[in-house]
């Protein structure tokens, strides 16, 4: 691994410094923290109440309108699954590529992944008509002798999301073990107990490291194709359908790129306040941000290219339905959604070509938020607009408007996500201790170190 200091980290940063700085983040929570947590829980309550209404009276409370039978809920589902992607990308793929800069940010990203999947997983359950029968989608032996239909992309989804949640969770836990051990050795009181248990008796012997680092490698190797597969499967929910605007072979790569794009944006959005709050400027440096920005730029360009492709093929195919669908998309009643998405996702990130902007954290923060919005609208456009705008049948078209129920559930999902995230960063090291150390130059004899 990198023998010399990673660019951006000062020589003050020693093993000890790393351990203590990160351990400090677990210290007594500030008022600001509780305000944030309170806000998150409040949002969650809004969602829960809305859900109770939906269960009692039916999905009619949401804005659905024939033939728009999927709308905000599925939009949010895809949005959150997308968010979930950068985490595993940064922790697994970049790990395989041995890129040093990931170490400082991957823990946050990974936590984000887990909680985003947790959030996404709720939406399919909420959006089905008879939520109390969701378990019929699971292949369990039952009295009727019925099984789910494995030809349905929804079942693929179920398996993909389930696997993704499990794997990313264990991946997160694995990464945590040595760090929890490190914190354990500094902690006192109930936290000591907590970390003693959660560190599973980690002592950092050569044997432990030997199995651990190999295992971690294999996990990464498994997670990498998983990341790519999961959003491909999600995209197939649409690509397997014959709806014009859905039925496209480009969907898998297009969605994966989009997912990573939105994921990285979300990482920036989350990292910035944490960095400030916990004073991690020394560990999470502009260098890291710049790399994230570059990743955004890459994936963003892929997404932009995909947009162009879609419209080009719609024209090139000469298929009247396809053409109509995309004309409707751009100039129909939903033009505003479409153009929001195109501006936020395709044009805004072009600013990142400029190094000044790329290295300006505030600018990045703002851009990242716009990208998040843009990506949400991308899903909205793909799902709602494709269904609304004359899918084959000239007679069947409708204009759909979300209602309070849609927004309520969506707000709840954000509350749910941030609640978990905030709880995590206060109780577990939000930056990997051991891996940050790895990329530091190891202490050698004859080197003078300031203590």
């Amino acid at each position: 691994m990198a023998e010399q200091q990673t660019p951006g980290t000062s020589s003050r940063v020693t093993y000890d410094y790393v351990t203590r700085t990160i351990a400090r983040t677990l210290g007594g929570p500030s008022r600001g923290y509780f305000v944030l947590l309170g806000a998150a829980v409040a949002l969650l309550l809004v969602g829960i109440i809305t859900l109770l209404y939906l269960l009692r009276y039916g999905l009619g409370l949401a804005g659905y309108s024939h033939p728009v039978y999927w709308a905000v809920f599925i939009t949010c589902f895809v949005f959150w699954v997308g968010i979930a992607h950068s985490g595993t990308l940064i922790s697994a793929i970049l790990f395989l590529f041995r890129s040093g800069w990931r170490t400082a940010v991957y823990r946050t990203a990974e936590a984000m992944t887990v909680f985003a999947v947790m959030t996404a997983g709720l939406f399919p359950l909420i959006h089905i008509g008879r939520q109390w029968y969701f378990y019929w989608l699971i292949p369990y032996p039952n009295e009727r002798g019925l099984w789910p239909n494995f030809k349905s992309p929804l079942i693929w989804d179920e398996f993909a999301i389930g696997t993704y949640f499990t794997v990313s969770t264990v991946f997160l836990i694995m990464g945590l073990i040595p760090d929890v051990a490190a914190v354990r050795d500094l902690a006192t009181g109930w936290r000591k107990k907590l970390y003693t248990i959660t560190s599973l008796g980690w002592t950092g012997t050569n044997e432990q490291w030997r199995h651990y680092s190999k295992g971690y490698l294999y996990l990464a190797a498994l997670a990498t194709p998983l990341v790519l597969s999961v959003h491909s499967v999600v995209s197939w929910d649409f690509a397997m359908a014959i709806v014009p605007g859905w039925h496209a072979t480009i969907f898998a790569p297009y969605f994966v790129a989009g997912a990573i794009y939105s994921g990285c944006a979300m990482v920036i959005t989350l990292l910035t306040p944490i960095r400030k709050l916990f004073g991690l400027e020394e560990l999470i440096t502009v260098h890291h941000y710049e790399n994230l920005a570059k990743l955004c730029l890459l994936t963003g360009s892929i997404v932009g290219y995909a947009y162009v492709c879609e419209y080009f093929i719609a024209w090139f195919s000469g298929n009247p339905h396809e053409r109509a669908a995309f004309w409707y998309r751009a100039f129909g009643p939903y033009w505003w959604a479409t153009w929001t998405m195109i501006i936020c996702n395709a044009f805004l990130p072009l600013l990142l070509w400029v190094k000044k902007i790329r290295t300006n954290i505030t600018a990045l923060f703002v851009i990242s938020i716009f990208v998040n919005i843009g990506m949400w609208f991308e899903r909205y456009v793909i799902i709602v607009v494709s269904l609304a705008g004359e899918p084959y049948e000239p007679w069947a078209n409708a204009v759909y408007n979300p209602t309070w129920a849609d927004w309520g559930i969506m707000a709840g999902s954000f509350g749910w996500f941030f609640m978990w995230f905030l709880l995590f960063v206060k109780n577990f090291p939000a930056v990997s201790i051991s891996e940050v150390k790895e990329v530091l130059a190891p202490p050698k004899r004859g080197q003078v170190r300031s203590r």
């Binding site: 999905l59 999927w70 007679w395 078209n397």
Partner: protein
């Protein structure tokens, strides 16, 4: 017969629990609640639980007198179907007929007699008390004016009322909101007879309608539609089909949609056009003239096309062309009615059209006099105005109203007049406007609960018998009258007595009587030939010309408002039936509220958008309606439907939109009729509403949803040709697709893919479909489809499994010349896109080729609907069966008409058409019991059964001899969106139109 009623009483007891079960079980999760089982006391022979019994009776929703067969299960009437024996409707039925059930089980019926008490509100009263009261009132009103207002009653009941009135010295006024005064007056003008003729549409070779909406509500719509399609359809079941149909009217109505050509003549000039055509025919000797045609020369001289074309608003070549076509067709039939007969000069227009028929030699052949139509018997509007005057003058001491609602169709004036009447009695079993203003209510049985009959035309008597036990404490008005008259026996005896006299001579009434009556009842009536008699031109035709002249009245900015009868709500009597309210108007596709039709050019002038409210202010009243922009109306005309704007009449009708009758003149016109055209100012109110419409794109845009052929091209097609296959995938691709599909089907090794089972299919002939939407209501009735109400329908939540898509047929200027109506329902695809995406196999392919939907397995992911290119799957957003729920679709006792063979769907499940699978299974069970196969034609879907134009055929596609598979091979046949390789089971037969280059882009 008497004990048959007793039977049904006990059946009803069981029926109620049954109905409970149907709904409860469907909306409850988990196990059934324990029910009580109530056995019969006496075992009815003609009822087997779980099996339907059929009773023949007569539909009284309008005066046409169609025969119906009521399907009764456990004492509940669950479906009405046309009676094949009836010469009127030949086993077919319209939406309004289907919806009669919702009148029977209407939750807003008057449950028992009521009397107005001291503080002006109604209170219940027992029958004896009520009749006592009435008897007293009659006694004191003797000589001070007793008037009985009834609907068009040409029936034994009418006779009885007349007999009784003679006794007590009163008079009867039978009133229809849309009278036929102009027809009678016009016929008198032309032929000196005031009777109504019968029109033989079926044998016409060229049909020219001057505003006559014979497919909407005019005279006998079902009969006319059946005849019309025989004449007009490409293969109407007779050699020379495809009679051209030209529609002359200021607005394109449901009838107009079937037209090959639309002549939007200036309102009131229809007669001029008719005479101009007659002039051409006579002057150019285009047809063999009747002897006395020469007498017309004088009259016609003033009507040379060149002279009148300007006034009519079309160029004279068109007039000449029409005249030539009409005369040379050798069977031209011109019909004047509807709008054309509701102008000031309506009578003259009728006369003019008569003359046109006369010179073309159609009178006597296609237009037969002699069989006076029942509705004709209605009194004129003048009579009603006179009555109103009498009432105002206090010359009416006792007013009895039965089967009419003048307070709604003659609002304001009549309402006030009612106040001045001594005592007002209503026999209506609904709290309509008139009833609400009465002092005493003696609710009559619903026609399906009562004995009675109707004489739609001379020679035909349609019988009415009770099919169910009365739902409420109502009593047959006939019986009440008999009691008042102090006569013994029930009305049933009275009616059957009359029926006995109908039997042919030579048989002694006493002996054969009962048997004769019984036989007739099983057939639904006595159907004899109508007498015909020849007519000659009236001695003096001088009156025609002057009355024809139309002087424009009203100031410049005044608009011409045309008030037309709503195709299903008619004069408003249908407004209390949710099925009819939720049924989109066939032309505008607007439901639950009324509207004003505005031409886009006019709208552009006023900066008006669809949904903006227009305030129409005539001399007589003002009302505001949301605008609907359409090219199907003349730019200088605004059209408004009647039907809505009730201030009473139950939860479904009350306070909906506005009452168009308010705008109309309160005085009778020259010929004693009512003028439905009025000058009014139109002003934007600035208000706006989202109109409740199911309309998607009004143009089909060549998407392959509907196909249209020119008649010559269609005739040139030989069997085996397939002109629409270019719609399919290109040759190279289709080969691959075919091959792949075949491999797959072999691999499936199941069901109809191996041809062992039937493959149920449908053939729909678009050249027959008129868009009347009877099939839609039939589907609602058969399949327990929930009505969702106005605000949900506004959000596109309607559940109509079968919808009619109306795409305009336009001429080269993009002006509509008519429309193609395409019934869109589940296509039961062979390669159904909806199936593989369902995660729980709720949607799957049955061995007999149905695209089944297992409601109780569905979890409601709605993926199937997304993946359905036809968009014919509908989702239960709420629990529409929830007792007392906000969106309850079947409030007691409406739930009594739920079909026990069909599951009532729960909240959160997808539902759709499955070709009436319950009927298929029923037939299969029966066949199995009799150890035979299912015969072709044995299974009839609800939509097919009711279709008045016989456009739908159901059967087994795997059976080469079945009618449907033969039709599927028709060269006109095509599959909707065939390019998707969904292999639909429904074959559409292309619409055929007269002009050679049809455009529906």
């Amino acid at each position: 017969m008497s004990d048959s009623i007793d039977r049904r009483r006990f059946l009803k007891v069981l029926g109620v629990t049954g109905a409970g079960a149907a709904t409860v079980s469907a909306c409850g999760i988990g196990p059934e609640p324990t029910e009580k089982l109530i056995p019969y006391l006496v075992q009815p022979e003609d009822q087997i639980p779980g099996k339907a019994t059929y009773y023949a009776t007569t539909c009284r929703e309008c005066a046409a007198g169609c025969g119906v067969v009521a399907r009764v299960r456990e004492g509940r009437a669950v479906k009405l179907e046309g009676n094949p024996e009836s010469p009127i409707n030949r086993g077919r039925l319209c939406s309004r007929g289907q919806a009669a059930l919702q009148g029977l089980y209407n939750p807003d019926r008057v449950p028992h007699p009521m009397v107005r008490n001291a503080n002006g509100t109604f209170e219940a009263i027992d029958w004896d008390g009520a009749i006592q009261r009435l008897r007293a009132k009659v006694a004191e009103a003797r000589g001070k004016g007793i008037v009985f207002v009834s609907g068009a009653e040409v029936s034994s009941f009418g006779d009885l009322v007349d007999e009784w009135l003679k006794l007590v010295g009163g008079r009867r006024l039978s009133y229809e909101a849309f009278g036929f005064d102009a027809l009678r007056a016009g016929n008198r003008l032309a032929f000196g007879t005031a009777t109504l003729p019968t029109y033989d549409l079926a044998n016409a070779k060229y049909i020219l309608s001057f505003g006559a909406d014979f497919l909407d509500t005019w005279l006998s719509p079902v009969e006319f539609q059946n005849g019309f399609t025989q004449a007009h359809a490409f293969e109407g079941g007779r050699s020379a089909s495809m009679a051209k149909f030209v529609y002359v009217a200021p607005r394109l109505s449901l009838t107009g949609m079937s037209a090959d050509e639309w002549i939007a003549a200036r309102p009131g000039t229809e007669g001029t056009l008719a005479l101009a055509m007659a002039q051409v025919i006579v002057s150019r000797h285009l047809a063999r003239q009747p002897a006395d045609a020469s007498r017309l020369v004088g009259l016609l001289s003033g009507y040379a096309p060149s002279a009148v074309a300007e006034a009519i608003g079309i160029d004279q070549d068109t007039i000449v062309r029409l005249a030539r076509e009409f005369a040379s067709s050798g069977g031209g039939l011109a019909v004047a009615g509807g709008m054309a007969t509701q102008y000031e000069n309506g009578a003259a227009i009728v006369a003019a059209v008569n003359i046109l028929n006369y010179v073309a030699g159609s009178v006597g052949s296609l237009v037969k006099f002699g069989a006076d139509s029942a509705v004709g018997s209605a009194g004129t509007f003048a009579d009603l105005v006179a009555l109103k005057a009498d009432m105002d003058a206090g010359r009416v001491a006792l007013l009895l109203v039965h089967g009419a609602n003048p307070a709604h169709s003659f609002p304001g004036a009549f309402q006030q007049a009612l106040g001045k009447v001594g005592y007002k009695v209503s026999f209506s079993s609904y709290m309509d406007e008139t009833t609400a203003a009465c002092d005493l209510i003696l609710p009559d049985h619903h026609p399906l609960e009562q004995w009675g009959d109707s004489r739609p035309r001379a020679g035909v008597t349609a019988f009415q018998q009770p099919v169910v036990q009365p739902v409420f404490e109502t009593r047959q008005t006939g019986d009440v009258i008999l009691q008042l008259a102090g006569r013994t026996g029930t009305f049933k005896d009275y009616v059957q007595g009359k029926w006995r006299t109908l039997q042919p001579r030579g048989r002694t009434p006493a002996a054969g009587g009962d048997q004769f009556v019984f036989d007739a009842m099983t057939k639904g009536g006595v159907y004899g030939e109508s007498p015909t008699r020849a007519v000659r031109l009236a001695a003096d035709l001088s009156a025609v010309a002057p009355r024809l002249s139309t002087e424009q009245k009203g100031s410049g900015e005044d608009q011409t408002i045309v008030v037309f009868p709503h195709p299903v709500l008619h004069d408003g009597r249908g407004a209390n039936k949710p099925w009819l309210q939720e049924l989109p108007d066939p032309v505008s596709k607007i439901a639950w509220h009324s509207w004003v039709e505005v031409h886009p050019d006019t709208a552009a002038k006023w900066g008006l958008a669809t949904g903006d409210f227009l305030l129409l202010r005539s001399k007589f009243g003002a009302q505001k309606f949301p605008a609907w922009l359409t090219r199907s109306v003349r730019p200088d005309v605004l059209a408004v439907p009647t039907g809505q704007g009730h201030v009473a009449y139950g939860r479904y009708a009350q306070d909906r939109s506005a009452n168009a009758f308010e705008l109309l003149s309160r005085d009778a016109n020259g010929y004693g009729g009512r003028t439905f055209v009025v000058a009014a100012t139109a002003t934007k109110t600035g208000e706006h509403r989202k109109i409740v419409t199911t309309e998607g794109s009004p143009r089909e845009r060549g998407r392959g949803t509907v196909e249209v052929l020119g008649v010559a091209r269609a005739k040139s097609l030989r069997p085996g040709q397939a002109p629409f296959h270019h719609e399919e995938t290109p040759e190279y691709a289709s080969k691959a697709v075919e091959w792949w599909a075949e491999r797959q089907h072999e691999k499936t090794e199941l069901g109809n893919y191996r041809g062992e089972h039937p493959r149920w299919g449908l053939a729909i002939d678009l050249s027959k479909c008129t868009g009347c939407s009877a099939c839609v209501t039939a589907c609602y009735a058969e399949n327990n489809i929930a009505t969702v109400g106005e605000d949900l329908m506004q959000r596109g939540r309607e559940m109509s499994w079968l919808r009619l898509e109306r795409y305009w047929l336009t001429d080269e200027h993009g002006e509509p010349q008519g429309a193609v109506n395409s019934p869109m329902l589940c296509q039961q695809c062979g390669n159904a896109p909806c199936e593989p995406v369902c995660p729980v196999f709720a949607a799957y392919h049955t061995p007999d080729g149905l695209n089944a939907q297992v409601y109780n397995r569905c979890v409601g992911t709605r993926y199937c609907s997304n993946n359905c290119p036809y968009k014919v799957r509908y989702f239960n957003w709420y629990n529409y069966a929830e007792r007392g729920g906000k969106y309850e679709a079947f409030p007691e006792p409406l739930s009594m008409l739920l079909n026990p063979d069909v599951t009532v769907r729960e909240k959160g499940v997808m539902e759709k058409c499955t070709f009436c699978v319950q009927r298929i299974r029923g037939a299969q069970n029966q066949a199995r019991l009799e150890d035979r196969g299912v015969r072709d034609g044995e299974i009839v879907t609800a939509c097919q059964q009711t279709c008045p134009s016989e456009a739908i055929v159901f059967g087994d596609l795997n059976d080469p001899r079945s009618r449907v598979s033969q039709l599927a091979g028709d060269p006109r046949g095509y599959h909707v969106l065939a390019g998707l390789n969904t292999k639909p089971a429904i074959t559409y037969l292309a619409r055929v139109v007269a002009q050679e280059t049809p455009s529906h882009g």
